[in-house]
């Protein structure tokens, strides 16, 4: 791919990284534009949820009464586990698409991968990581 990229660069002596710089500039311009445009063109209907720092369901203040003002740790644990299995899925999709080309070797590899994640799953499950209460 890199070779292709280099080949595509004009040979007139222009640095091959000029397009990269252009990309950065465009990205920055887009970000600034979006932030600046929103209050100008958007409707102004505020409510409580709108003013939250993140729309992820946690009230930053006041803190929950249970647990000494902190969220239960199990919440974060579950979130982490979700990410773990999310990543597993991310691997499974490309494997499924190319399983023909990968052949038997690919199957063995993906089984090993699933087994490894399975060990972790077994550990979390047996040690109570999935018990919400």
């Amino acid at each position: 791919m890199l070779e292709a990229f280099e080949a595509a660069a004009p040979s007139s002596g222009l640095d091959p990284y000029v397009p990269l710089v252009a990309l950065f500039v465009l990205a920055a311009a887009f970000a600034v534009f979006s932030v600046a445009a929103a209050p100008l063109v958007g409707p102004r209907r505020y409510n409580k949820a709108k003013l939250d720092a993140y729309e992820c369901g946690i009230e930053p203040s006041p803190q929950p009464i249970v647990g000494g003002g902190r969220m239960p740790v199990a919440y974060y644990l579950t979130a982490m586990l979700f990410i773990l299995f999310d990543i597993e899925m991310v691997f499974l999709y490309p494997f499924a698409v190319t399983s023909d080309q990968l052949g038997f070797f690919g199957v063995v590899e993906i089984v090993l991968f699933i087994a490894t994640v399975g060990f972790a799953y077994a550990y979390v499950w047996r040690r109570g990581g999935l018990d919400w209460n």
Binding site: M1, L2, E3, A4, F5, T98, Q101, L102, G103, F105, G106, A115, T116, F119, A120, A122, Y123, W125, R126, R127
Partner: protein
């Protein structure tokens, strides 16, 4: 571009050849680590501790046996000196002579560390999770030493680091300081990993490959941008130096050494250093030998900084574990002196130094774990005053180990320094050697301070007690001390092995 990509994808992917015999030690360690996770999951709590020790011990013993088997078959295969080794997994892992030496070192040090971790009689008492974590870390270190491309190296770096972060936080008695250490190590470690990864990206941009050998080829006579090469090298090296606790990237070391459970500190201090310098040696030798005249001066500076920081900061430490931490920073500087002497002597002497330093360090931490007061380990130096009067044997052993760290003859530390410095001299780095000698003299002062304190001070009223060590700790300390003495008197065998061959790219 897309067509090109698709065209590539349609070809049948061939499975790479795998030399199972060569990588068996790693597979065994990592396989047993998975087994160890299952033990955590399915075995009842009261039976876990003993079983986990068995699993970990079996892993190391089997890995050692397979390593020995491979070495003997490898030696038998080649000419009089044996084959140089094999490169396997599509060139991702290179099992060559230095890698074999480092694996042997790691497994041997792993046995000692495991003994310390497994001893519950003197307040080791960690969660049983420490064993799978230990095995994963060990496996990661082994891959790290043998990784032949930067991506494999990065994965190995994470595999060895993440368990270590967790292990630091496992102390049950001194919970807060232990967890603080874990978080600090994790945050700074992530920071350093980022450096490594940025460096990797820049080098890929430079060479179009992450293989060490390809980078070396690219660095010889191309008109590509040297900014990418040296920027990448700098960031990559920073990530590696962090793991080896080389100053000024050492800042985590004292806090983490102090906070982590002592047996974990022992493991970390000895084995991480072996792995990190194994990686540094391989990267510098295989990928960057041709550009050494550009980067060597900079690493001179880093080595000097590390020796100075270790020696000077160590002078006023009041905590034994922090003192040993700064000592390890100074030692990292000495090791770097050997690592940048780009000749075969530099390689073999650094390998020897790593082995010698590892044994001495683990034994030292074993001793430290025995000196306790009511609230736990008595690591404050003032509590060590007059210890020799109360338990002369322990003080004697610790004195010997400190002398080894200071590099006094009859100890492995002396031979290690001697071979490293003579390799550096041979490579024309006389000024650096003189500076190193000066700083080793300064560092000797703080080791002797502890000796003087133990022997010539009146014991404190409420001084610590020395607990009777369990069998495991006794064995670990005895072995470590014995090897320190043995390598000081008869280093020939190990030196021969260390100099049996170079890297295979």
């Amino acid at each position: 571009m897309q067509e090109q990509f698709l065209a590539q994808a349609q070809q049948q992917v061939n499975a790479p050849d795998i030399a199972y015999g060569a990588i068996a030690p790693v597979l065994i360690v990592l396989g047993f680590a998975c087994l160890s996770v299952l033990v955590e999951a399915f075995v009842a709590k009261e039976r876990r501790w003993g079983l986990q020790i068995g699993v970990a011990a079996a892993a190391i013993v089997l890995a050692g046996a397979s390593l020995a088997a491979f070495i003997s078959s490898n030696d038998a295969a080649g000419g009089p000196t044996g084959k140089t080794g094999v490169t396997t997994l599509a060139g991702a892992v290179s099992v060559d002579k230095p890698a074999l030496f480092l694996w042997g070192t790691l497994l041997a040090l792993g046995v000692l560390a495991l003994l310390l971790i497994a001893d519950r009689t003197v307040g080791g008492d960690m969660q049983t999770e420490v064993f799978p974590l230990f095995l994963f870390a060990l496996g990661g270190m082994m891959v790290f030493c043998a990784a032949n491309n930067l991506l494999t190296m990065f994965i190995a770096l994470e595999v060895l680091s993440l368990p270590l972060y967790l292990m630091c936080g496992l102390a049950r008695k001194r919970r807060l300081i232990s967890q603080e250490a874990a978080v600090k190590y994790f945050l700074l470690g992530a920071f350093a990993s980022a450096f490594f990864l940025y460096g990797l990206a820049l080098l890929y941009g430079y060479a179009g490959s992450v293989k060490l050998a390809d980078i070396a080829t690219a660095a010889v006579g191309t008109d590509r941008s040297d900014t990418l090469l040296f920027g990448g090298l700098g960031l990559l090296v920073v990530g590696l130096l962090f793991k080896g606790s080389v100053g000024p990237f050492h800042t985590w070391t004292p806090d983490v050494y102090q906070g982590a459970p002592t047996s974990v500190t022992a493991f970390m201090a000895a084995c991480t250093k072996v792995a990190a310098f194994g990686g540094i040696l391989r990267v510098l030798t295989v990928a960057f030998q041709s550009t050494q005249w550009e980067w060597r001066g900079v690493l001179w500076g880093v080595a000097i900084a590390s020796m100075a920081i270790g020696a000077i900061f160590g002078l006023t430490q009041t905590d034994v574990k922090r003192m040993i931490a700064y000592s390890s920073v100074a030692h990292a500087g000495f090791l770097l002196v050997g690592a940048i002497a780009m000749n075969t002597d530099g390689l073999s002497s650094t390998l020897f130094y790593l082995l010698a330093y590892g044994f001495t360090t683990i034994a030292s931490f074993g001793v430290i774990s025995l000196v306790r007061s009511g609230s736990g380990e008595a690591t404050d130096l003032s509590q060590w005053a007059g210890l020799a009067k109360r338990s002369p044997l322990l003080a004697g052993v610790f004195t010997f180990l400190l002398l080894a760290l200071a590099g006094i003859p009859l100890t492995s530390g002396f031979i290690g320094k001697f071979v490293v410095f003579s390799a550096a001299l041979r490579d024309g780095m006389a000024p650096l050697v003189v500076i190193a000698l000066v700083f080793s003299a300064v560092a000797a002062f703080f080791y002797l301070r502890v000796v003087v304190l133990m022997y010539f001070s009146e014991p404190a009223e409420d001084g610590p007690t020395v607990s009777v060590p369990g069998a495991f700790t006794t064995v670990a300390i005895t072995l470590g001390t014995f090897v320190t003495l043995l390598l000081g008197v008869l280093p020939g065998f190990v030196l021969n092995w260390a100099s049996s061959g170079g890297f295979l790219s």
